[in-house]
């Protein structure tokens, strides 16, 4: 019995290292700023601020577990936001049109990335760097370089409304997408295959897995989530901004990797990614509240990311 207990603890520590780090950082911020940081309204606020990056990170997680990378998500956010806003002017189209358009465009770009990688055999970094550049251009062309504004109230409410008058819809979407992603990754056969192709593509192919198909689907998921994030950002900012979403891909990748997913693919847990996204939001919010000047914020933010992952790695090593 004792042995079993031992093993369980070790396992927990191993997997939850980053959770502990996260809790410690939360605790420090609460002590430093009990009146502001720890207030429920602010905690809800953090959740809200984590949502868009969290949604992107969920898609990115599939891609990285499969052994790839998706740099195009930031540009997808911009393009889908611009297109959605263009179709959300009062009295023109029903609300469903911009929603569907954002999702379909995201899905399509993801499909394009996936095909380039799976059938073109082009490195994921190059394909998605290429689409990142191209799609940014398309967003600028579509919007003629200027933000698209004048959207309906209904459109604004997509991200701006509340559930039960208390929970921002943004947070609801984040939670729903997390649950769906976690389900697919851990319960669905598809998720198992994503891990398999990331872990050893050749052995996956020998095991009858259609590697190309899975690969394309993974990028489609990332594209779809990015399209949804673009819709949400446009709704939240009540406009489609062609320069929006710049370097969002870095934050999304960082959330995933802070959460313990390996860049080389094949491993990682969904809740790590959630913690990663929350950690990034907490740092930003906490430093703002502590009134750290913005230049020093960069230094501290960078340091916290490194130290958080260092502690995670070391806690795993100790228990290994």
């Amino acid at each position: 019995m004792k042995k079993l207990n031992n093993i369980m603890n070790v396992q927990l520590m191993r997997e939850l290292g980053i959770v502990i780090v996260f809790v410690v950082i939360l605790a420090i911020l609460m002590i430093l700023s009990p009146n502001a940081f720890a207030r429920p309204a602010n905690l809800m606020n953090i959740f809200k601020q984590a949502s868009i990056n969290g949604i992107l990170a969920m898609g990115m997680m599939f891609v990285i577990i499969s052994g790839g990378i998706d740099l195009s998500v930031g540009s997808i956010v911009a393009l889908t936001g611009v297109v959605a806003a263009s179709f959300a002017h009062p009295g023109e189209y029903p609300l469903i049109v911009p929603i569907i358009l954002a999702l379909v465009i995201g899905l399509f770009i993801g499909w394009f990335n996936g095909v380039g990688i799976a059938y073109g055999n082009i490195p994921p970094f190059i394909v998605t760097l290429g689409t990142m550049t191209m799609i940014r251009g398309v967003a600028l062309i579509v919007s003629k370089g200027a933000p698209v504004f004048g959207v309906t109230d209904a459109f604004e409410n997509i991200a701006g409304a509340f559930l039960f008058d208390t929970i921002p819809l943004l947070v609801v979407y984040f939670i729903v997408i997390t649950i769906v992603s976690a389900y697919i990754l851990t319960k669905a056969v598809f998720g198992r295959r994503v891990y398999a192709i990331g872990g050893n593509e050749i052995s996956a192919a020998f095991s009858g897995i259609k590697v190309e198909k899975i690969r394309i689907m993974v990028y489609m998921i990332s594209g779809l989530f990015a399209g949804f994030a673009g819709l949400l950002l446009a709704s939240r900012t009540v406009s489609g901004i062609p320069t929006a979403g710049q370097s969002y891909e870095l934050d999304a990748i960082a959330a995933v990797i802070i959460g313990g997913v390996s860049m080389s693919g094949g491993s990682g847990r969904w809740y790590g990614t959630v913690i990663g996204a929350l950690l990034i939001a907490v740092i930003g919010n906490g430093l703002d509240i502590l009134n750290v000047s913005s230049h020093y914020q960069l230094v501290i933010k960078g340091a916290i990311i490194i130290v958080a992952v260092l502690l995670d790695v070391k806690s795993k090593e100790r228990t290994a």
Partner: protein, 510 residues
């Protein structure tokens, strides 16, 4: 003739995540002896050697070299003390050439300015060629490791280890991927080394090798020291009993199964240039062996049949039906399984759990609705683990942490879970201990008894002869001979296996 041992390991203890894998183990090696280290899969042989090399650190225990206590905290330190090792899991740098791999970490330099001095590539290739010539190996020193076969890679590893002027050379299953011709080359080298006073620690699951080369034998079982004795005081049965803890009768148990109708017919299969116009058929309840020398194209043939190579040509009939196999999924649908020869590359996802590996091919069958039921999966996997005797602390552990032999068992478990009709096994017993080998032979017997058919590639002639009902022999991509069980003989197989020029002539007349 008890002199000062060149190496002594005392009271070595080692645990991985609170699982004890070495318990007070001892080992004593005399200079100039070939000392076999024996034990079942997972007994702790590789772990003990990795501790000696400084790859792992022991939890407790001492190591003495020439009677003086030493500590190796990394391989560089061990190598500096004259200890080198051929690792069980081959570890080439694939994008480098052969000579660069042989001289990795001790490159021949032109200058003396440390790591900024120039590598003398020419000299390295020249020296490599000399090493190869001296033992009669035909590999280009400038060839990329990536382009070598498994067998050639293993030869390179061997040459690499013996070219380091070491006093102790550890050989962890050096012959798992090579055939008798190369084994002979290796043994010749080992004898030369022994004469010059080098001590060899030799690990292998091939009994014949042990008794032809070893001077003394230490046996481990489940991480415990069992015994250490002169080889002359032991015989095969005694040794097996020490290793397994019980007697094993009959190494090649042959189950008689009823051989029925043709289930698979292969017509004019080609995957040029490795496989040329192959024709054969396989019957229900039959064990069909494929023998041949390394590089004969046996693996490519079965890979082509399994849908791995898109450019393969030819027709295939399963149960009389013409089937098109364009991808591995098609083969699996037609109830074919392929247990590949290279478990690290093609067989397993090393960073996934034992459980995930075992069920990966059968997910669609187990969970037709696409949703995994953990309880059901656990049940199925528990059964497999018991059935195939996979030794592991937990099925949630990564396959990576298993001993080589246990990894092989996971591959077999994975494929048999798909309930295949035709089971292709490419070197299925590579790296597997005697007990487990016998289990696999028994399993093959059970399979054919249940009306399945087995196509088995093996480079161990004894094994094919012991197990198969019929043997095909391949050379240079063609089937050069076919033998019924009553006609089996080593000479005949070797004769067919070395019919080289036929292939070339055909090529020219094509």
């Amino acid at each position: 003739m008890v002199s000062v041992p060149i190496l002594e390991m005392k009271n070595i203890n080692k645990s991985f995540s609170s699982v004890k894998v070495l318990n007070d183990v001892q080992l004593s090696i005399q200079p100039g002896e070939v000392h076999a280290l024996m034990g079942e899969n997972g007994a702790g042989k590789s772990t003990l050697m990795n501790i000696l090399m400084g790859v792992h650190s022991a939890d407790s225990g001492e190591i003495y070299l020439d009677g003086a206590k030493i500590v190796n905290s990394n391989p560089k330190e061990a190598m500096a003390k004259g200890i080198s090792m051929i690792h069980q899991e081959l570890n080439p740098v694939l994008d480098m050439d052969v000579s660069e791999n042989i001289f990795l970490g001790r490159e021949i330099k032109k200058g003396t300015s440390g790591i900024l001095s120039i590598v003398n590539k020419k000299q390295m290739r020249h020296e490599t060629q000399k090493l190869f010539d001296a033992v009669g190996i035909d590999i280009q020193p400038s060839a990329l490791m990536r382009d070598l076969s498994v067998a050639q890679s293993q030869l390179v590893e061997i040459i690499k280890a013996i070219s380091i002027s070491a006093r102790i050379i550890i050989m962890d299953e050096p012959t798992s991927a090579i055939t008798e011709k190369e084994v002979d080359i290796l043994f010749e080298q080992i004898r030369k080394l022994r004469e010059s006073g080098v001590a060899i620690i030799y690990i292998s699951h091939k009994m014949e090798e042990i008794f032809s080369i070893a001077d003394s034998i230490t046996v481990l079982r489940d991480g415990q020291f069992v015994s250490s004795d002169n080889a002359s005081n032991l015989n095969k049965d005694k040794l097996i009993k020490l290793m397994v803890g019980r007697e094993l009768t009959e190494i090649f148990p042959k189950t008689e199964a009823e051989i029925g109708e043709v289930v698979m017919e292969v017509n004019n299969y080609s995957f040029k240039p490795k496989v040329r116009n192959v024709n054969f058929n396989l019957r229900r309840g039959e064990i069909l062996g494929i023998a041949g020398l390394v590089g004969a194209g046996r693996s490519e043939l079965v890979e082509a049949l399994f849908g791995v190579h898109k450019s393969a040509e030819g027709s295939l009939f399963i149960n009389g039906q013409d089937v098109k196999i364009r991808q591995t999924g098609d083969a699996i649908k037609n109830k074919i399984a392929l247990i590949t020869e290279d478990r690290k590359q093609t067989g397993l996802n090393l960073i996934a759990s034992i459980e995930d590996n075992i069920t990966i091919v059968s997910l669609d069958k187990l969970f037709p609705r696409g949703v995994i039921n953990r309880h059901k999966e656990d049940e199925v996997v528990d059964k497999s683990i018991v059935k195939f005797g996979v030794k592991a602390a937990s099925k949630k552990n990564k396959v990576q942490s298993l001993s080589g032999g246990n990894q092989q068992k996971v591959v077999i478990a994975k494929w048999l879970l798909t309930d295949p009709q035709i089971i292709i096994m490419d070197e299925p017993t590579r790296g597997i201990d005697v007990g487990a080998k016998r289990d696999i032979y028994l399993l093959i017997g059970e399979l054919v008894k249940a009306g399945k058919s087995v196509l088995m590639i093996s480079s161990e002639i004894q094994e094919v002869m012991g197990v198969a009902d019929r043997i095909l022999v391949m050379a240079e991509g063609r089937i050069t001979g076919e033998l019924e069980r009553k006609d089996f003989s080593q000479e005949k197989i070797m004769h067919y296996a070395s019919q080289f020029n036929r292939g070339k002539e055909d090529e020219e007349t094509e």
